[in-house]
């Protein structure tokens, strides 16, 4: 009798256990991983050349700006020299011209900033595409539902904390690097 009771309770326990496990499994269909693209990017061998090219571009643009600035200052000092000997209307004209030149210079400075950003996107973009593709391949191989980005390109954390177990289980950064042959 006692044995019978025991086996029944064991059975029902097993049944409950089975139901809970299968429920957990159903929920578990949602498999996630996460990746730190910045970490991958920094380790890509192409990155060195990209940084060098970007630096060259920045240097070139800075040089252009410095030349324009110097040219402007030269014209200002030329004007200051003849200021006392030219007519009032000529003065006004000159000052208008210099004012326009000055705003052009400022515009150029803003434009450089934009061009540098564009250049960066143009150079880093293909590398990010490669990472994207590698993440997809790894995720498909691992049967993941989602892969979450660890931080924004501005450096803001999206994932603030991962337990050690979660790191081992869900961080696929290493796998993505392997896929890329790094």
């Amino acid at each position: 009798m006692f044995k019978r009771l025991l086996s029944i309770s064991l059975l029902s326990l097993l049944a409950i256990g089975f139901v809970t496990v299968s429920q957990a499994n159903a929920q578990q269909n949602l498999e996630i991983g996460y990746v730190d693209p910045q970490e991958v990017l920094n380790k890509m061998p192409e990155m060195k050349a990209v940084q060098q090219r970007l630096q060259n571009f920045i240097d070139k643009k800075r040089q252009e700006y410095a030349e324009k600035q110097q040219n402007f200052q030269q014209q200002v000092s030329e004007y200051q020299q003849k200021q006392s000997v030219i007519s009032e209307s000529a003065k006004q004209k000159e000052e208008e011209r210099l004012g326009k030149l000055n705003s052009e210079l400022q515009q150029f400075q803003g434009q450089i900033q934009q061009e540098i950003q564009q250049k960066q996107q143009e150079l880093v973009g293909p590398l990010l595409d490669q990472i994207d593709q590698a993440v997809s391949t790894v995720a498909q191989n691992m049967g993941l539902t989602y892969v979450i980005n660890r931080r924004t390109s501005q450096g803001d954390a999206i994932i603030l904390y991962t337990s050690q177990q979660a790191q081992q289980k869900y961080n696929i950064t290493e796998e993505v690097m392997n896929e890329l042959g790094i």
Partner: protein, 171 residues
């Protein structure tokens, strides 16, 4: 029974918490002290810029006054000097923003470290696998919706920081 417990933990759901880092950072007790330090730094730098600008303007005015009594060579030399002065002034002005950013980063780093430490402690106590950031530092949402406020650990992290800050102040 033991098997059952094991299986739920092994196959259990991932436990995810979230929090608002900006809220914690803005309410940390050390915050006002750091803001004051940063403001002092900015004021000092602004003063320096004003002094340099004034010095440059004085030099220009002095040059314009004396110009008529100067030789052509002197004028050229003087103008070259003034243009150099202007250039270095411009450079200084441009570097100011960067200097302030750097100073800000250096001052805030200990706050971030303390916050991260508190996040780890709270997450470990609550057995969380992940803690997600609710919003970026520019205020963009990373999490739009959560069905349970219990997953929000912002107040717990803040409380822990306050508690540990108090005790270290007393010691």
């Amino acid at each position: 029974m033991l098997l059952f417990v094991l299986s739920t933990t092994a196959f259990g759901q991932i436990k995810i918490g979230y929090m608002n880092t900006q809220e914690v950072l803005s309410q940390m007790p050390q915050r006002s002290d750091i803001e004051q330090q940063l403001n002092t730094f900015i004021q000092n730098k602004r003063q320096e810029l004003q002094q340099r600008t004034a010095a440059f303007q004085d030099s220009v005015a002095a040059y314009q006054q004396n110009k008529s009594s100067m030789s052509e060579a002197q004028i050229q030399q003087e103008e070259q000097q003034l243009s150099q002065m202007e250039q270095s002034l411009n450079q200084y002005q441009q570097s100011l923003q960067q200097q302030i950013q750097q100073r800000r980063g250096a001052l805030l780093q200990p706050l971030y470290d303390k916050m991260n430490e508190a996040i780890s402690t709270v997450a470990e106590n609550k057995n969380l696998d992940f803690v997600l950031n609710e919003a970026t530092s520019t205020g963009e949402n990373l999490i739009y919706y959560s069905s349970s406020k219990q997953l929000d650990i912002t107040q717990e992290v803040l409380q822990l920081i306050k508690d540990t800050s108090d005790s270290s102040a007393k010691n």
